[in-house]
């Protein structure tokens, strides 16, 4: 899909410019945009490196585990089919905590680990279990404390207050996650309703 979009942008761009007799602009735009990209990447590198350093301290000091413990009662209610002492519970909580702190690189291995543990509880090995769907919904609408990449990009773009989007982003992610939870309940109920109907 992304292949198609990328190709579409390039092909339609070059063809439209050719048809309107301004092919020269293509060459200029190429050089300009490559320079823009380089400046942006360089501009955001510094602050990205800084936050990843900070968040590594947070991970090492056990701040992530503190979050995981605080989240446990709320999050595990969403996974009625995962026993509270199962290793899947720990991985799910740590993954959500890592996402919350913006530790994308720590979150992915923890998330993959959670999937493996959930797969052990899954009776049908090539079909997603409801717990997996809930986990992925939480994961993709993950609540973030500091959207470090976005803040870095805004700083590189010359914003006077690059961090003023932190609070609204937090609010928006909370609303999105809550919506995901509600929708997940709906899908689960529909699924179990169908299951009962089948057995009758």
């Amino acid at each position: 899909m992304i292949n198609f979009i990328w190709l579409f942008l390039i092909v339609s761009g070059v063809m439209a410019a050719g048809a309107t007799g301004q092919v020269d602009r293509i060459t200029t735009s190429l050089t300009d945009q490559a320079a823009v990209a380089t400046n942006l990447i360089m501009g955001m590198a510094g602050i990205m490196v800084f936050w990843m350093g900070m968040m590594n301290i947070a991970a090492k000091s056990g701040l992530m585990q503190v979050f995981a413990r605080l989240l446990r009662p709320m999050v595990m209610r969403l996974f009625p089919d995962v026993p509270p002492d199962h290793p899947a519970a720990g991985s799910i909580l740590l993954n959500i905590s890592a996402n919350f702190l913006g530790l994308g690189n720590a979150a992915t291995p923890l998330g993959l680990n959670a999937m493996q543990e959930l797969q052990k509880l899954n009776p049908d090995k090539d079909t997603a279990s409801p717990a997996m769907c809930t986990f992925l919904a939480l994961n993709t609408s993950s609540v973030t404390l500091i959207p470090a990449t976005v803040v870095a990009l805004r700083a590189a773009a010359g914003s006077t207050s690059p961090a003023d989007i932190v609070a609204p982003t937090f609010v928006a992610t909370v609303v999105a996650a809550a919506t995901a939870v509600v929708l997940d309940r709906y899908f689960r109920r529909k699924l179990s309703g169908k299951g009962r109907g089948g057995r009758r």
């Binding site: 942008l9 769907c133 609070a167």
Partner: protein, 177 residues
């Protein structure tokens, strides 16, 4: 609004204070831990750089040719009904597919609209409140060999849509036009 504004202003300084202080109290070698994470951060920048360049160059071609203006003009009436500025449409399309590409799109919006404009802020919030759903699903389900994903994709995309709408709401709340 004063409280919320102060919260936005204070949250980063507070984290910069609390994280290393808490780490020190817990016996973490804060400097070494910082360097270790920072190195990983540098690798992350290197990893997303090609994605950003790829999409920025392609978007540039699309824009100078005038094709972008056509697209935006065509979508404007539909989107204005829902209160979505047409400038954020490229972000809506790329966000679920590729995180790096979406970041490139966001960079372009920030450059053209200004990072402190309403559209610039809205796009920033959108980027932060949604995720690369297709990618996450492919990686996570692929890693355990799940082929039938049931309602996971629908649910993930609906969550993204909720994220976008929540971003519009939050942006209007915090930055009244």
């Amino acid at each position: 609004m004063g409280l919320v504004e102060n919260l936005s202003r204070w949250i980063i300084p507070l984290l910069v204070l609390v994280i290393p202080a808490y780490g020190y109290l817990k016996g973490v070698k804060v400097y070494e831990a910082f360097i270790e994470g920072a190195e990983e951060g540098l690798r992350m920048v290197v990893r997303i750089a090609p994605y950003m360049l790829a999409i920025l160059v392609a978007l540039g071609l699309f824009k100078v040719s005038g094709a972008m203006d056509l697209l935006v003009a065509g979508l404007r009436p539909v989107l204005s009904l829902m209160g979505i500025p047409p400038e954020v449409v490229p972000l809506l399309v790329t966000r679920p597919l590729s995180g790096g590409a979406a970041l490139g799109v966001l960079a372009e919006i920030l450059r053209l609209q200004g990072p402190d404009s309403f559209v610039g802020r809205l796009a920033s919030i959108m980027q932060g409140s949604t995720d690369t759903t297709f990618y996450v699903l492919a990686v996570y389900f692929g890693s355990v060999g799940i082929r039938k994903t049931r309602y996971a994709l629908t649910l993930g995309l609906m969550a993204d849509l909720a994220g976008f709408l929540a971003a519009i709401w939050a942006a209007s709340l915090f930055f009244p036009r």
